[in-house]
Point group: D2
Amino acid sequence: MKIVIVGGGSSYTPEIIEGLILRHDEFPVDTITLVDIASGKEKLEIIGQLAERMIDKAGVPIELTWTLDRRAALKDADFVSTQIRVGGLKAREKDERIPLSHGLIGQETNGAGGIFKALRTIPVLMELAEDVNEICPNAWIVNFTNPAGIVTEALLKYGAHKKVIGVCNIPYNMTQSAAEILQEDPKDVRIEFIGMNHFVFGSKVLVRGENKLDQVIDALVSQSVDFSPANIVSSGWSETFLRAVNMLPNPYHQYYFQKDSTLKKDLEAYEDNGTRAEQVQKIEEELFETYKNPDLDIKPEALEQRGGAYYSDVACSLMSSLYNNSQNIMTVNTLNNGAIVDLPHDSVIEVNCFITKDGPIPLTVGRIPQQIKADILMMKAFEEQVIKASLSGDYYDAYRAFIMNPLIKEEKTAKMVLDELLDAHKDYLPQFN
Amino acid sequence: MKIVIVGGGSSYTPEIIEGLILRHDEFPVDTITLVDIASGKEKLEIIGQLAERMIDKAGVPIELTWTLDRRAALKDADFVSTQIRVGGLKAREKDERIPLSHGLIGQETNGAGGIFKALRTIPVLMELAEDVNEICPNAWIVNFTNPAGIVTEALLKYGAHKKVIGVCNIPYNMTQSAAEILQEDPKDVRIEFIGMNHFVFGSKVLVRGENKLDQVIDALVSQSVDFSPANIVSSGWSETFLRAVNMLPNPYHQYYFQKDSTLKKDLEAYEDNGTRAEQVQKIEEELFETYKNPDLDIKPEALEQRGGAYYSDVACSLMSSLYNNSQNIMTVNTLNNGAIVDLPHDSVIEVNCFITKDGPIPLTVGRIPQQIKADILMMKAFEEQVIKASLSGDYYDAYRAFIMNPLIKEEKTAKMVLDELLDAHKDYLPQFN
Amino acid sequence: MKIVIVGGGSSYTPEIIEGLILRHDEFPVDTITLVDIASGKEKLEIIGQLAERMIDKAGVPIELTWTLDRRAALKDADFVSTQIRVGGLKAREKDERIPLSHGLIGQETNGAGGIFKALRTIPVLMELAEDVNEICPNAWIVNFTNPAGIVTEALLKYGAHKKVIGVCNIPYNMTQSAAEILQEDPKDVRIEFIGMNHFVFGSKVLVRGENKLDQVIDALVSQSVDFSPANIVSSGWSETFLRAVNMLPNPYHQYYFQKDSTLKKDLEAYEDNGTRAEQVQKIEEELFETYKNPDLDIKPEALEQRGGAYYSDVACSLMSSLYNNSQNIMTVNTLNNGAIVDLPHDSVIEVNCFITKDGPIPLTVGRIPQQIKADILMMKAFEEQVIKASLSGDYYDAYRAFIMNPLIKEEKTAKMVLDELLDAHKDYLPQFN
Amino acid sequence: MKIVIVGGGSSYTPEIIEGLILRHDEFPVDTITLVDIASGKEKLEIIGQLAERMIDKAGVPIELTWTLDRRAALKDADFVSTQIRVGGLKAREKDERIPLSHGLIGQETNGAGGIFKALRTIPVLMELAEDVNEICPNAWIVNFTNPAGIVTEALLKYGAHKKVIGVCNIPYNMTQSAAEILQEDPKDVRIEFIGMNHFVFGSKVLVRGENKLDQVIDALVSQSVDFSPANIVSSGWSETFLRAVNMLPNPYHQYYFQKDSTLKKDLEAYEDNGTRAEQVQKIEEELFETYKNPDLDIKPEALEQRGGAYYSDVACSLMSSLYNNSQNIMTVNTLNNGAIVDLPHDSVIEVNCFITKDGPIPLTVGRIPQQIKADILMMKAFEEQVIKASLSGDYYDAYRAFIMNPLIKEEKTAKMVLDELLDAHKDYLPQFN
Ligand SMILES: [Mn+2]
Ligand SMILES: [Mn+2]
Ligand SMILES: [Mn+2]
Ligand SMILES: [Mn+2]
């Protein structure tokens, strides 16, 4: 069985390699091919060599190669994982800085920055989907690339290849944290999720079938526990908010329901330390220095602090479940198919699925609870507009996405920030030229 | 843990008793209470004594009692199984004979007969639901009573108690038959079902995640294998029909797509042997004779020929899965909740569900395939009308159900048959008086 | 302003010519072009000459031409009316005879015959729509051709030209009849219609805003008044049916709710006089003899008995309303657009519309009343399947339409009748070859 | 014919009296009864006497009375117009001041203020609806009371009386302005509206059937023309916004798409002149001084500046159209009924309707254009939550409405403002005590 890792030069790759090594018994990969683009050649080399050392150390019969020739790499692939970053961290820096400089949330997957990440990424993955469909039509694309929900919807609605699943570590993290709060084994905890990637709520926390949501909310109220991954700092939620929503929010919800305080905090952090992208660039440099060490033959500890912890864990579990027809429940991004009654059946949602060889089958969720309906419906319509703009390359389509977004909305600011971002990213937005 | 069997004097009860004995390790019932109405007292006594002998013989620590006092029986119940027959086999005889005498399909759960079975049954179960909700509000009602889909929808939409699940052996039988055709272990076979009770189609036959539908259809074409339970005789399907529908029909579909030939066959059978109800009355008399034998302390072989084989097996498995939070997949009648996109979210459908302590969660099915959409939509709207009539007791509501039904439809015949059935069943239709 | 009449050699044309002459003040047509196919050349000639005499006699400044060159004819057209009959009355004869010979309803727009009329017609009109869109893109197509609802849905969903409206005289006739019953001026009567062409019900009869439905139903009950056009003979409805449906049925409903008696009547009529098509052929021969008379310069009386009375009246009124932005209410076949909540928004329905220069805007109807929901949903899904088959030319698609249709449904008969019709019509069904 | 004006002591009443006098020929009212509550007795007296002088001067045969006994007043009413203000302008002052003092938009029908106006008003009108349904069940309620859309939805969904129509002058004003821009008679202009009260967009500007939207947008771009009524000052829209939305916004949209600048402007105005409510209180005092003048026997000029110009004009036209079964098109607040496909069929929308004696019938609008879908869906779900809170009196329900609202959203501010408003209005919110 063969896995192709698109964006193989990413600093995250050692984690996925580790995951594949650890699962080799149940998920016997025999070939891993790392692919990247020319500008990432050096990093790809470093990662390739580290990965080779890791595999050797583990003594598993996996053949590893790396290449810049994507089409050659895809040959005979069974799984294609995508973890690309169009424009690299430099682009992310602009996604964060430009909105912040106009007093807007500047974040990688939310607001203006998130829109531009989608605009740059979707066309690239649409091309990948065409290649996959032509070269390895039975392969599953497991998409890590953010904004994972929007990207997956674009691929599933308009792409050439329909075997695509999007993954995020947020549901995994939330389950881990809830298990910790309840002092339970995470295997015994199943949260019912409702919503979309980075806008998902946990409506029930089931422990062996009993709903312990109230207990978790009590803990959040009293201890200000939260579910944030390393990349975003959250301030906790007020009791009133938690009782009124009566669901578990995810860390990204702070951008929407604590916009002013989050913006203040983010602006201060920006003035102190620059954008998160700049920090990450430094972390990455250090990571790659570590990776170069010819004595390193395991995933280094330092990677855990990078922010995407468990991402590859989730992806490896998913691939193994698909391969083994495991029929277990995982939370992934896939077609709604009716699971959330009030959303279009062909929307992509983040939902608990029964995972089979034939793909994920969502468990039904039902109607959107009234207290989050307004936001879920709005965000889904917004996502549709982002996809439309990413494919049309139409200026007004992009502007429409801006004024729909609750982190922007202001008609005049929208134009200024849009114009500045379009200019800053023009090399990665051929559809707008 | 306590189970109450409403309609405990039924000839099927020994099967459920056997099921509970065999599953005692995983599903440790400690009390079984059989309930029935006054007119069934004698049968209840016979069944109670047989069940007691079976339990003694098995040596399991289950306490068994029987009573005519339903409210007393319900105290502390964890599960309530319902297998009642309002009006008994005499009423079924009328449901079969009267339509046949006017040249219409006369069948227990379809056409005019099925409508009247619903009209008699729903009000009785609505009352039971009120009692359950008052006396043992945490108990699950596992409803065997036909027409199981319609009855379950009535209870879930309009009843006092919302923990209700409907069961039928058809999906189980279809899975067994498909496994046999494919020479696979039924545990490895999962059919994707779409539709409603007794109007369900199998759209995929998944064996360890691979769809083997074509192979099963090939077998049906070449061998005229079919999925009929003992109570209905089926004639097999033409190749054209199977290829065009491209799904597995269930045996009851013959009433709709082979109406003329089925009617002819049924009329002949009726002339030769009377109604099915009359045959069953004879079988039942013999069964009860057998049951009386004080030496009998196991479920007698003869019961298997009675028609509802596996019904209790399905029900016992379901109760055990609920109790154990088994998180396995079973096909039951429950709220659509979006699983079939084109049906109302609060309809009851027969669908693969993930079974948890918290109840069944449907796996999404998606849009209804075009080739069966017309019939599924029609039958669901018809079912809604039957429920409406059962609750309103309005003559025109009943007539409307008649002219909607594809086995009746004819405006004048509808009236004649309706009037005759209303008169014949008037003792069991207080809402129409 | 120019009108092109496609199928101009039809015996109905004098009626539309008369309509255009009478409305010349409000609807000042200056050019009428009749088009037909080569095999209809002789009839076209006869009609052309009669129409010329009619125009001369009326003294209106209309220029009339006729041609076999459709593309030339379409140049500068403002309105294109379509009244074609692919395969002519010979084809209709087969649509009627073949089903009847297998004991099925044999009718021009219902059941197997109606399906085949659609299969022959849709591809021809799809081509016309392409021509119109290319040559006279601002023109309205006013479609008379049956089955008008199905044909219009095919054009609006899949055709190249979106300015298409379907017309039928049934709503007009029903309004006239209701007005007569109520002894009111038809101008003061507005029936609220719900459903599709030839399957439409009247849910309210509003006279100056007051609903007189009950009075009309009372009259139907007591006098057996009915709404049949000349081409179908209806037997009246039973009181129970009328009270239960509590709407005005249309004459075609007899095929569904009086199927057995209608079939019996139709079979007797067939044995006595052959098919309706054969009768019509005789009438047409006589009509054309009349038309040839060089002294005839008005629409002859005899035409009124032909069956489609008022069809052209409806079409002329509609064209005039579009031209004049009249903003009056007419009942036409157009996109649902939400008017009937339970049908797809892109279905074609027959509905009261506010007629503007910009096209018809349906008045909302709301949810389908429960008593007709099963049939409306079924028939709409059936219609979708007929359209699918007409475009795919797939045998199984056609078979699927057959088994969905309540006038066929029987799996084996379906195949026999389908095969016979496919063979009989093969010259007009290139997509199936 | 009798009209009852609930809130008859309002300063607007002379306008409606004038409207009824002017329309007396087509809409022959013979009795007008003004009703108000005890605390408004003095104003009611002033208005009653002025109205009497106006009627005398006009010489129309209308009998006018005024009373504090609402139930007596309703006897024999044909129309009930509602123009109440629960808590009076003092309450409005709080609705404006409290949010502003926390840096939120403080406005009568939007944001926190609008929510509280709804919370105070809905229960009072629910009681009125019960009285109307009991005392004059055939009467139409014509609701002026803001937030008119939300209030009308509450009444139509949950109220005892179903003949309720909501009116606003915004669509009327927008049509007048568009006509002015296009130099057309307003009678020839019909805007297609989509959305809800105070959140409605104009998607087409039809002049005799031709869409002149582009021309109107051009004018707005070049001249900064806008559609504001006197009560809100608007700053015009940027070209980019207008081109991207490609619809006519209404003046209230500034609160959503120009929130920051509007807030700044409103805060400045507040610091200079206090709240709008305070200004209005002064205007009202002056108005009532004017009204007291025993020589005044016509509607005084000064009233036109009050802000609600044309409101009564719209209401009188509507009542006349209902009475006369005029079958003209008016834009009112009524049940969606499918007109906007993506909104619930039982939502209230502001939509063009065909006005009949039987009530308004919406013209279908179709799907919500993508560029406004996010906002329309969000606002409708928000409105549903406001209604829920107004009926439940549940603190969390009110809080949920707050965090759904795009003018609030911030979790902590929401609580502060909510608590302060609940306390300030506690006398008018019995359901929350
Ligand atoms: Mn993520
Ligand atoms: Mn069954
Ligand atoms: Mn017709
Ligand atoms: Mn207003």
